[in-house]
């Protein structure tokens, strides 16, 4: 168990290093940040001087090691565009995005688990078809379209909720919720529909297992049998999909944050890219990669905890 975790942790660290090096290499643009900082007033001489001041004329490996050293301590350098340190802003944006992602995942699970279970238990009956159909529609609707429709109906037409903006939860929890409801639903509904299909097939799988048949022959209703014996097993494939989909949600957040003007990491990334603030783009992309890898690492660990069979197999 310990060895298996350690091995996974090592793979995680190595992946982060490789990913960050790739990002660094791809975003390397020589003196372009200096040229951008000087804008239309840059002469070749002033660009070269600033480029050297910024340390952009050093070998890429040296720049990378230097940058990594800072990044490990949370210091991502100073933005060429705003002259402000990148780290604190990035941390604030990440917090906002995590609220968004966590909330929409809760919404997704609240939709997926009952919907998926019900449609599995009612498989082959009218309700089962209806529920599958609903989740099919949900899968087909992109999050941004859901967002636009939700805004039009609940904000513009009915005026129940704000159309956009963000309130820090500590400042006013109720207003925070009011602002987050629509973004959460926009992201959550689509994910919920996707997850519901996995829940359904996982539950269907379990319902066909011998031990459940045994349980039912002892007089348990299908639902009770499932709850007592099947849910734990059914949750494993679903968990994998949740992990993978968390990353999808993170990507979806980039668009949703723009539509709802939520100052998270996705909006930060889009803003920085528009301003050609490469150092900030770099920091955000590496952070996103880190979060994505962290999620898959945690999913791995969670497997091992839920399923003893996987634990021994991995440990052997």
């Amino acid at each position: 168990m310990v060895w298996s975790l350690l091995r996974r942790a090592l793979i995680f660290v190595a992946s982060v290093l490789v990913a960050s090096l790739l990002v660094f290499w791809v975003l390397d643009n020589g003196c372009e940040p200096a040229r951008n900082a000087l804008g239309v007033s840059g002469t070749p001489e002033s660009v070269a001087a600033l480029c050297s001041d910024m340390g952009l004329d050093r070998p890429l490996v040296v720049q990378y090691v230097d940058w990594l050293g800072g990044a490990v301590r949370g210091d991502f350098g100073v933005s060429y565009v705003s002259n402000a340190p990148i780290g604190p802003t990035l941390f604030d944006q990440l917090t906002v995005t995590l609220w968004l992602v966590a909330g929409s995942m809760v919404v997704a699970l609240l939709i997926a688990v009952p919907l998926g279970m019900l449609s599995a238990l009612r498989n082959g009956r009218p309700l089962g078809y209806l529920l599958s159909g609903i989740s099919q529609i949900g899968v087909a609707v992109p999050a941004f379209l859901a967002a636009i429709l939700l805004v039009l109906v609940f904000a513009v037409r009915l005026g129940w909720l704000p159309a956009n903006g963000y309130v820090v939860p500590a400042a006013d929890p109720v207003d925070f919720l009011r602002h987050m409801v629509l973004p959460w639903i926009s992201l959550g509904v689509v994910q919920g529909a996707v997850l519901a299909r996995y829940v359904r097939s996982a539950v269907l799988d379990e319902l066909g297992q011998d031990y459940l048949r045994t349980a039912r022959s002892k007089g348990l209703t299908p639902f009770r049998a499932l709850r007592r014996h099947g849910l734990r097993n059914a949750s494993i494939p679903v968990l994998t999909v949740v992990g993978v989909n968390l990353v999808t949600v993170l990507v979806g957040a980039v668009i949703i944050e723009r539509i709802f003007t939520v100052p998270g990491i996705g909006k930060g990334l889009a803003d920085a890219a528009e301003r050609r603030d490469l150092l900030t783009v770099q920091a955000i992309v590496v952070t996103l990669v880190l979060v994505a890898l962290l999620i898959s690492f945690l999913v791995d660990v969670a497997y091992a905890l839920i399923d003893p069979r996987l634990r021994t197999r991995a440990g052997a």
């Binding site: 040229r35 007033s41 705003s82 402000a84 802003t89 944006q93 539509i259 909006k267 803003d271």
Partner: protein, 533 residues
């Protein structure tokens, strides 16, 4: 004109905005060669003053009594820093100038220069010495009084500490002296009508000698508002300056909210999240604000001119007949109607309707047959040109119509969309383009565009350059305006660009919002007159 001023140009960002970047581009104020000297409201020697920001001489924006109100205004581009002495970008000036920082003089709604922190000013007969009588009893938001020493400090600091690209406007100052706590004397090395105008821009902002330690986060000025909070990625909150020397602003708290997406900004107005959309990005979407009992559309003028710029340097476009043909080939009224829903003003030469030397000419009225004749005469029967488009809404909207109208007279246009950094690099720096569409937003920028052969357009006419230089040194408004108009007529005849339209200052607000400044003449968005109810 002066080579350094080459830098002082902006291309279409402030108004253009859409998805543009604020960083690489510069919105630096003050280009050379203005003529608006002491105007009638501030005649030399007069000490009438026009009062605080609230009482604009046009009377268009008289302040309501100070209340506890709050309102929010939507903007497109968020500042990247609050220090406009070091960081370029229109959004900082838009938020802070005249609201947090004040200048000695400012431009009013007619484009005239009027006193602000100076009660009056006097210009010597040789045009070299400016004597400002400063207001008494003005304090900075850190509690220190504003004196002539601070003015000297602020002017000298531009030369020593400001980022190179914006400080050129102060080059002409030989000395600044505090002759008494309320009298400032500035001596120029040569007469320059543009200097006083530049003093209405950010380089004229007055700073406290003890308040410049943390400009990026803590701006300290004499203005009607102080910065209360900056929620990065979301908003800037301004609070009424309780110690303000002038009429207190009617609204206590003003929030500047930033929206990357124009639809999100419109939705925020529809749902009460904001009360004002500061710049309409999508005029075709104005229909949803048609209910006049709920909303008002303010249609003023800005200092922006949307140009179809041509590369005058080499190739077919260096031939006057080809440029004239293109000018004749475009039906600008149709372009404006289709691209910008008819909002804006058609212009026939450079400068906006609010500029003192604006002339309403139409040198090349729509005439496709004349265009074909000129092309034939120039031997360009099968001309193909490249059109490089920056990522801005008006360019995307105008391009298809321009392309189809040029096709009518036999010119094939290949268009390509580029990002802003690529545009700066290809078009602006390397001059590798045939045609482009861009909104030049700088006020009084004709000398920058047409007085410098190294500028990206590549317009080279010594007579025009001499006229601009002569105008800057003139001692009276009349003489300077005459020089300018001559220069602009000559430019119109040479057809170095096609002036598609003068950009409107389009604002939508709740019907009960009052005191919005209609014409965008300075780079500042004045908050001190706005109130609701």
């Amino acid at each position: 004109m002066r080579g350094k001023r080459f830098a002082a140009l902006t291309v279409g960002l402030l108004v253009a905005t859409l998805a543009a970047c604020s960083a690489g581009s510069t919105t630096t104020p003050g280009t050379s060669g203005q003529t608006a000297g002491p105007s009638t409201t501030a005649a030399p020697g007069s000490s009438t003053g026009t009062g605080p920001t609230g009482s604009d001489p046009t009377g268009s924006a008289s302040p309501a009594p100070a209340g506890d109100g709050a309102l929010a205004i939507g903007f497109v581009l968020e500042p990247t820093s609050l220090d406009f002495t070091q960081t370029d970008g229109a959004p900082i000036t838009q938020a802070l100038l005249l609201n947090v920082y004040e200048t000695l003089v400012k431009t009013d709604q007619n484009g005239d220069i009027v006193p602000l922190l100076a009660e009056s000013y006097d210009v010597s007969d040789d045009g070299l010495t400016y004597t400002f009588q400063l207001r008494d009893g003005v304090t900075f938001s850190n509690g220190t009084p504003f004196t002539a020493e601070d003015a000297v400090f602020s002017i000298e600091r531009v030369k020593t500490d400001w980022k190179p690209s914006v400080k050129a406007g102060m080059d002409v100052v030989a000395s600044a002296t505090a002759t008494s706590p309320t009298e400032l004397t500035v001596v120029l090395s040569q007469p320059s009508r543009s200097w006083l105008f530049d003093m209405t821009t950010r380089i004229g902002a007055m700073f406290s000698r003890t308040g410049v330690d943390d400009l990026a986060n803590t701006p300290i000025g004499t203005g009607p508002y102080t910065l209360q909070a900056w929620n990065k990625g979301d908003s800037i909150v301004m609070e009424r300056n309780t110690a303000y020397w002038g009429t207190p602003p009617p609204t206590k708290t003003v929030t500047l909210k930033y929206f990357a997406d124009p639809n999100a900004m419109n939705n925020a107005l529809l749902t009460g999240g904001i009360q004002v959309v500061s710049t309409v990005q999508t005029p075709e979407a104005l229909g949803q604000f048609a209910d006049t009992s709920k909303y008002q559309v303010i249609d003023g003028s800005s200092t922006g001119e949307v140009l179809l710029s041509m590369n005058n340097r080499t190739g077919p476009l260096s031939d006057l007949r080809v440029r004239q043909a293109i000018s004749y080939a475009l039906d600008r009224e149709t372009i404006l109607d289709a691209a910008w829903s008819g909002y804006g003003t058609l212009i026939g030469t450079h400068e906006a309707p609010t500029d003192p030397w604006f002339t309403d000419v139409d040198t090349y009225p729509y005439d496709p047959q004349k265009a074909r004749d000129l092309l034939a005469e120039a031997g360009q029967s099968d001309l193909t040109l490249r059109l490089t488009l920056p990522p801005v809404g008006y360019a995307a909207a105008a391009a298809p119509i321009v392309i189809s109208q040029l096709a009518e007279v036999g010119i094939t246009v290949q268009d390509s969309d580029v990002d802003f950094a690529t545009w700066i690099s290809n078009v602006f720096t390397n001059h590798d383009f045939d045609l482009t569409i861009i909104n030049h937003v700088e006020p009084r920028d004709a000398p920058t565009l047409f007085g410098n052969p190294d500028y990206y357009i590549g317009y080279d006419n010594a007579t025009v350059r001499d006229l601009f230089t002569k105008a800057d040194g003139e001692l009276t408004d009349e003489a300077a305006n005459t020089d300018y108009q001559q220069a602009l007529d000559q430019i119109a005849a040479d057809a170095p660009v096609v002036w598609l339209w003068s950009f409107p200052n389009l604002i939508v607000a709740d019907a009960d919002v009052q005191g919005i400044v209609q014409n965008q003449i300075s780079a500042a968005f004045e908050l001190a007159t706005i109130s609701q109810g």
